[in-house]
Amino acid sequence: MSRTFVGMPPFPSAAREALGDTQLRHNLAHATGVIRDKRARLVEEQGDLWEPLRLAGAAVKQRALDDLATHLEQLEASLTAAGATVHWARDAEEACRVVASVARSHGVDEVVKVKSMATAEIELNEHLEADGIAAWETDLAELIVQLGEDLPSHILVPAIHRNRAEIREIFLRRMAAVGRPAPVDLTDEPEVLAAAAREHLREKFLRAKVGVSGANFAVAETGTLVVVESEGNGRMCLTLPEVLVSVVGIEKVVPTFAELDPLLRLLPRSSTGERMNPYTSMWTGPAAPDGTADGPQEVHVVLLDNGRTRALADDTGRQALRCIRCSACLNVCPVYERTGGHAYGSVYPGPIGAILNPLLTGTGVDEQTDSLPYASTLCGACFEACPVRIDIPEVLVHLRSKVVDGHRGDRPPKAETVAMRAAGWAFADASRLGLVEKASGLSGRVLARLSRTTLPWGRPAAGRLPGPAAAWTGARDLPAPPAESFRGWWDRTDGGRAEGER
């Protein structure tokens, strides 16, 4: 039914393909530009409060992580006291099995789903489908992705790469096969498309027995789960079914209810650029005060590791677990804006994906993951935008060193290793350096004559070089080396005293 990210090519080749898609680049530039402006206006409105608020948000999440075992045990105890069933899942497979077994125990062949990064990460839909259970995505963008048999490309707006005409086409072609068809007179107005989604999904909400969600936050002190959303599909899934299963990453824990405060102020402003998102639901097990049953009376919570403890063990990388999935870093990233989310080969794209994926799966495991820490110019815009102050550039550099370390013993060595060894040899001795400079000047004269590219200030640059150097020049201009080195100039002009005599 839906595609997965398994087997995606490394970032450089995936990015090259994405860059060739002008429609995609247009959609992305428009969408990221709109959200960036909305966010910037609201951050401005908060004035001097914004920075202290970021510090508080970071401190809450860091405090939760620094004593995670204690908070998790407390969360488990509060949830159990509220009547919820707590499950623990070491990996994706284990988490999917829990959800499938709950669904099977109620004899259902379908579940309704709230958009959730954790369930996308563990590929729950594909697992349930293999078990004969249909998982209906109910967030509009996730519905577009699911119906289009497509992949999400943004954390907040997964269908950011699709324009209205494409969405109309997908609705007309696909809705009928899985439920209420789209009206035949469907236009491409966003209001009309949203209304078609409302009609299509309503019958599914009204009959659903089992709902599946994630959670934005899980309060250890009270056992309260929080889902932040806009459309009301979340409320439908959290309220109408008889059974609710929530898959919650262990890093979602927040120590106390009062500490939700900075996070609830930071998340909507950073994410959708709103002072507050339309709906936030908070619930504490199937608890029924004064005998009033409200919502699902069977509540399961799956606490998911799936690599999070690996990230936690990395002293520099640990901070990435503070992430509240707002996607502000995607919207400000010059690389993401041009390549889109698919090139990152994961449900977590953009700058946060470039660190989170290697931290969760480990470096040196596969080429695709190892390519991600390099999918950045280290410009630092992501750190500036991050509401919980994750120093993404710092973690990127740290992960690059881990990737390089992982390849030190390679036979044959990587081109980069050879180049670094050669540089080491040259810099170790002045006469060697002089020789290299002469050779470089010669190659500069040749390159300057052959090059077809000119950099600003008129300096000629090499296009794509052959051989191992192609990896470097594939995405960069290589300025032609100057015809004369500084040391050559010094010798010739007696340190500038004989300048002009050539």
């Binding site: 004593d67 950011i160 459309e231 109408l240 900075p262 609830l264 409200d294 690996r310």
Partner: protein, 217 residues
Amino acid sequence: MSGRTPARDEILGRVRSALAGVEPTHEPVLAPSAVHDPMPTHEQVVDLFAERVADYRAVVDRVAAADLPGHLAGLFAPTERVVVPPGLDGDLLAAVPTPVADAHPTGSGLTAADLDATDAVLTTATVGIAETGTIVLDHGPGQGRRALTLVPDRHVCVVRADQVVPDVPDAMAPLGGSIAAGRPLTWISGPSATSDIELTRVEGVHGPRTLHVVLVE
């Protein structure tokens, strides 16, 4: 399942070994509040609330307490089927020409399909937050189960001016009481909305397409 399982013990073990040597912080983090000089009067806070709720394209009416029943009566057409939650104030109930009572919890409540066949719902709220234009329901008496304010297409919500607080931090203490009592919370900021298609905001997807806040002063 709840209780000790191999998965639980292994995950907690990995967490502990990952954090060996990390010093925990036991004091809860206190987030800053906006500092205004001079502090706004309550009247100004209520004005801001009305302005910010309206900013989400919700309908906001400001009425004096004495005029509330008359004002509400004018909001509902005689044939409009309006869901009324248990515990709704008698004055409010009297203003609804065709009430549909949710017998919950005393009897079997309205089903999702029943709710889908109604036109509107009338409730009160627990807290109003001015800075963000948010109303929060704790689903106690007069506010109904969560589904009641979700399925009908129009939500009319009565908020008293004395329930309005300046910003989110001011709402955490009263709402913490509701959470401690085991109540769910729904934070509502304007009608349901999506920006999933080309980032164009569309009001009204799955929740009520109209949010009508009646602010009583």
